[in-house]
């Protein structure tokens, strides 16, 4: 690895501005969030900001609503992610097969669309397509004899809908990552294996899987982070409802801070979420980006 020692001035000239700006927008707010979380801080009563030590944290850590939202976020992750990986792998294997070049190119371009789409628009589209009365999905279900389903108004169905919609948006992402992994398998090795066995499973398990590992790890890191961040799509689709059936962690914090105006508690929730995120990403990053720069 080629690298050179340089004077402190040159180094700061290159990297200083980026660090300063990112610290100003990324760290200063966090420090302020910690400050807020140690105070009673309500937007409707700003005069009365009392320093209350860790009372907000004690409240958050013993708050059923908070852990329910964390639990929901976790359930979403462990249900949607395996489906996305399994379907994505099947699509990747299909696209990796030889032949039908034109149709496969078109399909690959089609796969690009869902994951680039504005998350808020994905939620709005869900509202329109899954509406109980005017929605096209219930119409299609009617064609095969299934009675209209109340997707958005029923707590369980709304949760299933969020999973389904998350799968729609992110399965293509998994498929394209895994397809990129499949193309890194050297042709000679794959051909030799196919002469040995007719079973696609054996080829996948023993030949292709090692090449898929980096992609799988990347998928797990990013989908975990994105599920903890998930806000836009659910906010526009269900607003966390009905009740709080689809209130994931980011939605709960937004509601606490901006609809209940309790910034103190919301900041404490945010700091706990941040701690969880940092721990998780450090674990993941150390596994994955081992080599570093």
């Amino acid at each position: 690895m080629a690298g050179s020692a340089v004077s402190r001035r040159t180094l700061w000239g290159f990297i200083g501005p980026a660090i300063l700006v990112l610290a100003a927008v990324g760290i200063v707010p966090l420090v302020y969030a910690v400050y807020t979380s140690l105070h009673y801080f309500n937007l409707t009563n700003l005069k009365d900001q009392e320093f209350i030590w860790f009372a907000n944290y004690a409240h958050v850590l013993t708050d059923d609503t908070f852990w329910a939202a964390m639990g929901r976020t976790f359930i979403l992750l462990v249900t949607a992610l395996p489906i996305q990986i399994a379907l994505g792998l099947m699509i990747a294997l299909l696209l990796h097969r030889p032949g039908l070049t034109f149709l496969k190119t078109i399909t690959r371009l089609g796969l690009v669309l869902p994951m680039a789409t504005t998350y808020a628009v994905v939620g709005l589209l869900g509202q329109v397509m899954f509406n109980i009365k005017y929605g096209v999905v219930n119409q299609m279900l009617g064609w095969v004899g299934i009675a209209p389903i109340d997707w958005i108004g029923d707590p369980d169905n709304a949760f299933v809908l969020v999973i389904f919609w998350d799968v729609w948006q992110w399965t293509p992402f998994c498929a394209l990552i895994l397809l990129a992994g499949l193309t890194t398998v050297p042709d000679e090795i794959e051909e030799a294996a196919r002469l040995e066995t007719k079973s696609w499973w054996t080829v996948l398990r023993h030949i292709q899987l090692p090449y898929l590992v980096p992609g799988l790890v990347a998928i797990m890191i990013l989908r975990t982070a994105d599920t903890l961040k998930l806000f836009d799509m659910v906010f526009t689709l269900t607003r966390g409802g009905p009740g709080n059936a689809t209130e994931f962690i980011s939605l709960l914090i937004q509601r606490t801070g901006f609809r209940s105006f309790d910034q103190g508690v919301a900041s404490a929730q945010a700091v706990v979420l941040l701690a969880i995120t940092v721990v998780l990403s450090q674990i993941y990053i150390r596994i994955f980006y081992r080599e570093g720069p």
Partner: protein, 277 residues
Amino acid sequence: MAATGSTSARSILPQIVLLTAILLFCVFPFYWMVTTSLKTQLVALSQPPQWIFTPTLGNYAEVLFEDGVGRTMVNSLIVAVSTTVLAVLLGCPAAYALARFEFRGKSDLWFWFITNRMVSPIVLALPFFLIVRWIGLLDTKLVLILIYLTFNLPIVIWLCTDQFRSIPYDLDEAAILEGAGHWRIFRSICLPLAMPAVAVSSIFSFIFSWNELLYAIVLTRNDAKTAPAMAISYMEGYSLPYGKIMATSTLIVIPVLIFALIASKQLVRGLTMGAVK
């Protein structure tokens, strides 16, 4: 590859069916979005939904000229372009330093940049709202431009560091022997060679900023309102104007889809921060 024997007619038909199904599954929601945007409210609220109807551009005229969606799109454009330019200006030299210089704390710095990508925006949105309200910059584009750097700067830094590292160090050494300083090498040798990464990270930076909703609804009200924030403001009220919501959605989505298709080969690389090439 054994493309002849195994790809007989017997195995090709199921493949065609499957591929078409996948394609339809991906594309159908967009078809429904566009057709709904061309429906009058009366047609949009018919039961069962109509597939054949007389299309109208009325929704587009209404959202653009009466509701001011055009103005919010201009806001989105200004914010996305400005934050992208800033991210490139700040990120490229930083990426060069990470790729070329040895210094203490480099890997910690690297981890910090990566962690920024993982943090939920709501964690920053709460304190940012209070700070910005305090300095009186609420509802300005500047605030969005700055806070979007929290995700744009890491993207630019990652993709460009990767690219700088792939440039042979011999080029630098030759230039050093000629007496060129690091800025000279950066500007005249490495940066031109890193242009592909700069282009791709700019496209990503633009897409992410254009798509962003949470910061936009927390930090803007009217003057700096972005297009996604505008789209969800139609959700208030009892009877939802489906045609108008879908017309606005279509207007928002078209530019990002065009960019995504242009960068489709690099999309995976960008979304995984260069972890998968």
